[in-house]
């Protein structure tokens, strides 16, 4: 079934799916719109977006103002590691009941904040609003302000009513909350080479890998937003000379605001994959206008690349020609994955995201191979169909995609909150290659193929004739 004849897809959805081939060059992909009612969207809400961005701030209290579910579903799910405080792992909720909904929840929020501050003495509290708070109209901002004045503890309202948009709007809400903290204190000694890392969440310790490189180059990180962050560091973020933005989907907004307010320029970087990591380090080093620094950065990249390249070759041998589908929250990750897979000799044949913007899809379109399908806000059926149609060997995604992959008889790699090994940096690609290999080439698929009546994947000959349209193969 071709993309245009697709019967299982709503007509409104067709414009959110795009196949890269010669005929369609000028077609635009429609994105950044809300999911269609009745669809089984894979995508989250505003609160979801705000919570994942802010949750890694390790020493803050994250208080969810709403019914219990919103706190329960986000209890320590992020997988971002801390080198110190563990407060962020706790799930605090006002646990709103019927009487709070009828009479308003402001008093309960006030009591909760006062109690929390007294009991835990955090450097800051993030108070998140949820759907119900938006419906009954609690004045979150006013309550936070009152408590902050009374206690002297920073209390930041996060305006994240779920229905106010999608996950991307939640990123904005989180960035707005961060802006309320940034600039609240100054650093003692100004380092000439100091940057912030934006959109790095220290999943499986990835930040530490990046920080090691930067430390080797003599570049100081003032604040990471928000992996392994402390409130005190974020307060000083405005003193950095440069913002390096990794997860562009969540943090470009903040970078632009900081540029306007504090005059801090930003560069988009990715620390995933050999080429991207190298490019990121050179870009950051190059910013400081010190030829020696750039030279050191090149040297570091050369050495680290060489250290992993030989082992990577082993994986390239066994992964060559395999086909991947990538469905991520943010589009920038999708882009990086396309490049990294290519480095492993693999091709991304389905590329999608939950929250991509049109400029992101433009970049993905440029990077993707001909014949690749690009999709915004994919549903389950669409993913399943594309896995079959595009003859995918591995799906890269998050928690909801994992069982879809296995049921479809293909491998899976969690590139989201649940990654268990760091993928950042040169050594990270080695971890990634190992994980891809372990799932794609696992002997368990033999058991799978025994119980299926027919191999879903067409034979090689069939494959060749399918791609007559000229996809460069």
């Amino acid at each position: 079934m071709s993309m245009n004849e697709r019967s299982a897809v709503l007509s409104d959805r067709r414009r959110q799916i795009y196949k890269k081939d010669t005929a369609d060059r000028d077609a635009d992909i429609v994105c950044d719109v809300n999911s269609v009612a009745g669809a089984m969207s894979q995508r989250g809400c505003v609160y979801n977006g705000a919570r994942v961005v802010l949750n890694p701030i390790t020493d803050a209290v994250h208080l969810v103002h709403g019914a219990i579910g919103c706190a329960a579903y986000t209890c320590d799910i992020r997988g971002s590691l801390s080198s110190g405080p563990e407060t962020y792992r706790y799930s605090f909720s006002t646990d709103m009941r019927e009487k709070d909904v009828i009479f308003g929840g402001e008093e309960k929020l006030y009591q909760a904040l006062r109690g929390l501050i007294e009991e835990h003495r955090p450097p800051a509290v993030f108070a998140y609003s949820t759907c119900i708070v938006g419906v009954i109209g609690d004045d979150l901002r006013a309550v936070c302000k009152r408590v902050e004045e009374e206690t002297g503890t920073i209390v930041v309202p996060v305006q994240s009513e779920g229905f106010k948009g999608n996950k991307a709007d939640g990123y904005h809400a989180a960035c707005d909350a961060l802006l309320e903290i940034i600039g609240r204190s100054d650093r003692g000694a100004d380092s000439p080479r100091a940057i912030n890392l934006l959109g790095e969440f220290n999943l499986a310790g990835e930040l530490w890998v990046i920080k090691n490189y930067l430390a080797e180059l003599g570049i100081e990180v003032v604040a990471t937003l928000t992996g392994d962050a402390r409130v005190a560091e974020i307060m000083q973020a405005h003193t950095a000379g440069l913002n390096a933005v990794q997860c562009a989907g969540s943090m470009t907004y903040l970078a632009k605001k900081m540029q306007k307010k504090y005059g801090i320029p930003f560069v988009k970087v990715s620390f995933f994959g050999l080429d991207d990591t190298e490019e990121a380090l050179i870009k950051i080093a190059g910013f400081f206008d010190e030829p020696a620094l750039v030279k050191r950065a090149w040297k570091l990249c050369r050495e680290r690349r060489a250290a992993v390249d030989r082992e990577l070759d082993l994986y390239r041998d066994v992964l060559k020609g395999k086909r991947a589908a990538v469905y991520m929250g943010g589009a920038f990750k999708t882009l990086s994955l396309i490049k990294a897979f290519r480095d492993l000799g693999m091709e991304v044949v389905v590329a999608g995201s939950q929250t991509g913007k049109s400029e992101d899809y433009e970049e993905i379109r440029a990077e993707a191979m001909d014949g690749a399908v690009i999709i915004d806000d994919a549903g389950v059926l669409e993913l399943v169909e594309l896995i079959g149609e595009q003859e995918v060997d591995i799906l890269v995604g998050g928690v909801k995609e994992r069982p879809i992959a296995y049921k479809s008889g293909i491998g899976f790699c969690d590139f989201n909150h649940e990654r268990k090994r760091f993928f950042s940096g040169f050594e990270g690609l080695l971890n990634f290659a190992r994980e891809v290999h372990a799932t794609v080439n696992s002997p368990v698929w033999a058991a799978y193929r025994k119980i299926t009546t027919a191999d879903r994947r067409p034979a090689i000959a069939d494959k060749e004739c399918r791609f007559e349209r000229g996809d460069g193969r």
Partner: protein, 452 residues
Amino acid sequence: MVDIAECPDIERQALAINPAKTCQPIGAVYAALGIHGCMPHSHGSQGCASYLRMHLSRHFREPIITTTSSFTEGQVVFGGSGNLKMALKNLIHIYKPEVVGVHTTCSAETIGDDVPGIVEEMRRAGELPEDVKVFCASTPSYVGSHITGFANMVKAAVDAFAENGEAAEAVNVLPGFVSPSDAREIKRILKIMGTEVVVLPDVSGVIDAPMTGELKLYQEGGTKIEEIERMGASKATIALGREAGNAAGMALATNFQVPLEVLPVPIGIDNVDALLMRLSAVMGKPIPKELEEERGRLVDMMLDAHAHWYGKKVAIFGDPDVTEALTGFCVSMGMEPEHVLTGTRSKDWKAAVTMIAPKATVVDDSDLFMLHRLIKRNPVDLLIGNSYGKYIARSEGIPLIRVGFPITDRANLQHFPVVGYAGTAWLVERIGNTLLDWKEDRTPDYLVELIQ
């Protein structure tokens, strides 16, 4: 280390820390999944459906289907009726369910959408295909817990579909919020008993459907609508667990005069015995030898292991029906339940558990922060509960036996039942040998013994 520093007792009326429950809609989705060909529909923001699916997927490691009304600001101001109508039309068109189980969320309830009214309006206007059934439950997230939502959805199914009919020999069994493997085990026991039975909901064969190489939205399992229709004519209803089963059981008793018996979740010899004896009485049939032999083997296992259980202090947390049964089982093995805690509010549960374990601190409507404090005050040797207990177990240096929902950090556990004699046997092995492993891991070399 995730630990909680000792801090003075502060009355926390306004705050939950590390919840021991979640909201109604997830229970509603889980119950609806146990109906054959059913698409659960979440009338609320898209985030709700996303979280419900994610949470269930993390526990079951299976794809979970649920559609959403995708609320935006417009619905909150003008009502969600338009979105519900569009959603139902769309989802029936794309996903082709036989049944749609609609549940509400906190926003939908507060806006005041009359969901059954909207569905009825669509039905009258011919906007719903004749052959697609739609039923609705009111499940505001700010009332009760996921167990309440589960109970409400099961009751909604009974209210919508059960009919009067010619008196039948069948027995209705409401298994409550348990794993697919538990539902499967209950069905196995009933089959051996020779009981004609309707199990509602029946998540076996839906969420633990075997791998076939094909990803299907609807699996072969699940209670069929025709079966639910017949429930009104059944001989009796047995609800296994008061909190999750009573509502539907009462509806059948009130509307169709089907006698209701509420029994505990069949974990532990006594509770399984109670179920079999009740079935035997209702059906007028003896208990088959096969089950007696299973029971005999279980008693054998309990005796072989009992010595190192005796006097061990245990804390149990989780959902009310399951924790109540687990408490009884631990007592029967000679353990001393020190703390029993649930996030769901229930005076009945509190009274029942206190009766089983009079010395235990029994707390309802509470959270894991409270549990941790209780354990710090009165330490225990063992913790039984879901994955959220791991932080308490780690910081107190005690083992955690994972039973309940959700279990997010160990694979495959949902495939092993804890109910019936077989499930109890698994618990006997798991708990007993964990206690031995734990002891041995901390034993110096010169004290290690080959024979335990």
